[in-house]
């Protein structure tokens, strides 16, 4: 009980601190690196929640692939310092902050009233969870899984089409 609380609160502090830094630092590369730390903290939280395989996938997909791409693209751009990293306009800015705060309040309220909805149960041990996850993925959710495969193919083709350059080093004269 005590250890669970300590684990949760240290992870929550880690996540909130680096999440806050992500959205406030002006340099986009620093923001990306803080986001990487947030992702690693989330992997730890997933592990803490018993989703061992999901934690590993989070580490591989988000921290290891998606965020590396972000950092590489930001480095290619070589944006020195952002002069104006936040939105301009006092009125629209305050409107946006208020809407975000309202959303946060709504989400917190919903979370607060969700306490009684589900009955706590326990999942089986980690290795079995992974096996069952694979089984579910290939039986009950097979159609969605295949649809995701098609989606990824379409996205890959689209990305190649968008980022194909006609100038620069790949120019064909």
């Amino acid at each position: 009980m005590l250890w669970e609380a300590i684990g949760f609160y240290s992870l929550a502090l880690f996540l909130l601190f680096f999440g806050y830094k992500t959205i406030t630092v002006p340099n986009p590369i620093h923001a990306a690196l803080y986001l990487v730390l947030t992702m690693i903290g989330l992997a730890g939280t997933f592990y803490n929640l018993g989703a061992h395989f999901i934690a590993g996938v989070q580490l591989i997909v988000y921290a290891g692939a998606v965020m590396v791409l972000f950092v590489i693209v930001l480095m290619l751009f070589d944006l020195r310092a952002e002069i104006r990293s936040f939105t301009r306009g006092l009125f629209s800015g305050s409107l946006k902050v208020i809407s975000a705060a309202m959303l946060a309040g709504l989400a917190l309220g919903a979370a607060n009233s969700s306490v009684a909805i589900v009955e706590p149960q326990s999942l089986p041990a980690a290795v079995d969870t992974t096996r069952q996850l694979g089984h579910l993925l290939y039986t009950k959710y097979l159609y969605a899984f295949e649809a995701l495969g098609v989606l990824l193919l379409v996205v890959a083709v689209g990305v190649v089409a968008v980022s194909r350059s006609k100038g620069g080093t790949h120019a064909q004269h």
């Binding site: 061992h52 934690a55 580490l59 290891g64 290795v127």
Partner: protein, 386 residues
Amino acid sequence: MGTDIFEITVNFVKMVVIFLMMVQIVPLLVWVERRGSAFIQNRFGPNRVGPLGLTQLLADAVKFLTKEEFIPERGYPFLFYAAPVVAMIPATLALNALPLSVPIQVEAFEMFGQTWGPYTFLFQGYEFGIGIVFVLGVSSLAAYALLLAGYGSNNKYSLFGALRASAQTISYELAMGLSIVGVIMLFNTFNFTEMINAQSGPLSFSFLGKAVEIPALPNWGIFYQPLGALILFAAMFAEANRLPFDLPEAEGELVAGYHTEYSGFKFNMFFIGEYGHMFVASALMVIFYFGGYTLYPWLTPESVGAWFAGFSPTKASVLTALVLHVVFMAKVVLFLWIFIWVRWTLPRFRYDQLMDLGWRTMLPWALANTIITAVVILIMRTSWGS
């Protein structure tokens, strides 16, 4: 972690010892690399300091520690300092998750006027239950060390080296992950220990539903997954940024790549990270394809345990674990030598050739290997004629 103070202490010490093992193997490997390259190129190599040049390592360590610290003036000091530390983290975490020998069973004993209950100590830092997934996830973080070093140095060559290196790392990660899928399907588990246990007997498989056993050969993964082993080994070279894939630090074009601005001990830490990567790569090859800490006809956990039947159970368990650990390390050292051998034998690729090899050759072959493995496993394990 453990239930009482003794178990927690031992588990903690174990992690530190495994980390130190990784660090301590680096000077030895550097010596082997320099003497080995000299042997391959018909030279002498370092042979002046101490017998066979062995104390050259100590002299190098003193040199590294006393060199001037240099920080690029307009870089980002925090990122610059963080990069060498980050370079060492993935290899350390991954090595701690690998089983280096059989678990040690300790009987209950008396100490400080108290009985300390029976323990089982795994011969590894920690066990997460997702074995391979954890190792893959941690080693995919290796790209950040390069990116941090390249960006923190504020140097064009460093940045180019870092971008090349990270692009190479994430390209070859695909082929690496896919070649491991074949192993996972074959042994039907994520757990390293279960994998090694499956490889400790004679070669046995089911052929169209009938069990076949070949007693002359061990049940190693290499006999089922030769293509996967080749792809994994080649991808590991790219992951560790070693020749023939060491484009990131191509001296002729990029001065020294991402560690151009590093000197002294910080440079040394990048070195430790690289050799740690080699160590983990060799250990993974041994675990997946070459039987881990077992050597079937002679050295299996049962037969080695029988040698020490006369000792007390605790002592026998410790001795068995140590003997099997030596077997494991012997295999790993063999692979480390192959790493060094390849470095001084093959020429380096051009950058476009490197990317072509990764995306157009290794990725399709790894995909084909996955699909063929799945189909063959399905056909072989189904009993056809009933």
